[in-house]
């Protein structure tokens, strides 16, 4: 089963890269048409998208860690955390991921990287203070499972590329408001141009929406699976269940959390507990996860 999940994550990463490439190229085409600069738009878009895809593949983890202001955790300063990560990397038979700490009062954690050899796990200082050893071990085992089945590759790509799509759509919409109408006045209602504007507009609306949908689809089942696999590593599902309970009760919000990487954290960093958020959230409700862990 784990091999299927690894394969599916690798496949999804490639698909996502293509989707991103297609969206950016189409945006470039629409923009180029809008400014009547021929294929320049497409060429620039291709260069941008290829650069962005390779950047998010090779350096996405660094970007994600920097956005969260995560700093490397030394064994001297955080012996327990480093020991736990070392222990669980033995349990899972993987190389030891790099360990990072985020200076924040909330209880949260995430994993990133492109494969188990290039992986990092980051934990908030709040988690280190408020969780006991078994609970922290549960949290790290959850992240370790994300590393093991290549969730980290796909999730990091989604975080960076979705963020970029949102920014690009924004730029596109602005450029249309500012230069679109003027041009159209001068040309006297060129039909092809109107079509391009419409296509561009649709793209600009669809892109972030599609990005959001991808995020919903990937995260909910993924969290349940990572919980279960984490429990398989520690052979102690109660540890993670107790940690989740503490996360639920804790009211602190992760300060530097970015909406584009909401799906990467072990628990929703924004804390908006109502039925509407449940419907559109990247994480299953914590009670359901606790229930699943306790029934193991």
């Amino acid at each position: 089963m784990i091999y299927e999940r690894i394969a599916s994550n690798k496949r999804n990463s490639v698909l996502l890269a293509f989707l991103f490439f297609a969206i950016v190229a189409a945006l470039g085409f629409a923009l180029g048409a809008l400014f009547q600069s021929g294929y320049m738009g497409v060429i620039i878009a291709v260069i941008i998208s290829v650069t962005m895809i390779s950047f998010s593949y090779f350096m996405g983890d660094q970007a994600v860690l920097a956005i969260n202001r995560a700093t490397p955790a030394s064994k001297k300063e955080y012996p327990q955390l480093v020991n736990i990560v070392e222990g669980l990397s033995i349990a899972s038979g993987l190389p030891k991921p790099k360990v990072y700490v985020i200076d924040d009062k909330s209880i949260n954690a995430f994993a990133t990287g492109r494969d188990p050899k290039h992986a990092s796990i980051a934990v908030t200082t709040g988690a280190l203070e408020k969780l006991n050893r078994e609970e922290l071990e549960g949290v790290v085992s959850h992240e370790m499972s994300h590393v093991k089945n290549y969730d980290v590759r796909f999730m990091t790509l989604v975080a960076i590329l979705v963020g970029v799509v949102a920014i690009l759509a924004n730029i596109f919409l602005r450029s249309m408001w500012w230069s679109g109408p003027n041009r159209r006045d001068r040309e006297g209602g060129n039909q092809i141009q109107i079509i391009f504007v419409l296509v561009g507009l649709v793209l600009a609306i669809l892109a972030p929406l599609a990005a959001q949908l991808i995020k919903f689809a990937i995260s909910r089942k993924r969290e349940f699976l990572a919980d279960a696999e984490g429990a398989l590593l520690t052979r102690y599902p109660k540890g993670l269940a107790n940690a989740l309970r503490k996360i639920e009760k804790d009211s602190n919000i992760l300060k530097d959390a970015s909406p584009a990487m909401e799906h990467m954290y072990i628990a929703n960093p924004f804390k908006k507990p109502n039925w509407f958020s449940n419907l559109f959230s990247t994480h299953p409700p914590i009670e359901e996860r606790i229930k699943a862990l306790e029934s193991m």
Binding site: P79, Q80, I84, E86, G87, L88, I90, A91, S92, G93
Partner: protein, 185 residues
Amino acid sequence: MAALLIILGILALLIIIFIAIYNSFIVRRNRIDNSFSQIDVQLKRRSELIPKLLEVVKGYAKYERGLFKEITEARTAMLKASSIKEKASADANLSKGIKTLFAVAESYPNLKANQNFLALQEEISATENKIAYARQFYNDTVMEYNTMAERFPSSIIASTFSFKKREFFKAEESAKRDVKVSVPE
């Protein structure tokens, strides 16, 4: 002609299946050896830490001589052990001794305030955890390998090329005797 091609095709398929199974045995066997060396590394690390721990504890808990002796003996047995079975039972004894020592340490407030002791306690508990995890991973890989060696059709290849079943890292029940705790007065 067609029949010959079919026969050749079946033969090629059989050879491919054979190679796949054979290689899979090799991969798993290497994984077992590798995960066993992981256990060994951690066992060694703990053996190095124990004298340091005893040194610190001796300064505070003078009445626990019996326990010190048992731990030292278990450590010596651990260092001497060569077979998997011996190592597993020595490991179980040593773990039990250390657990008792940490339990006893609870009743010495001065010892519990000692920074050196706390650091060693974290280090040894972490190593104990790592041993448990390494054992778990080793036993899982052995289980996979043994299942493959027993299951048809891979069992044919296992018996022809003598991929023998491997031993689990598991202490025998008799080895897990209780370590006596002496209560300080």
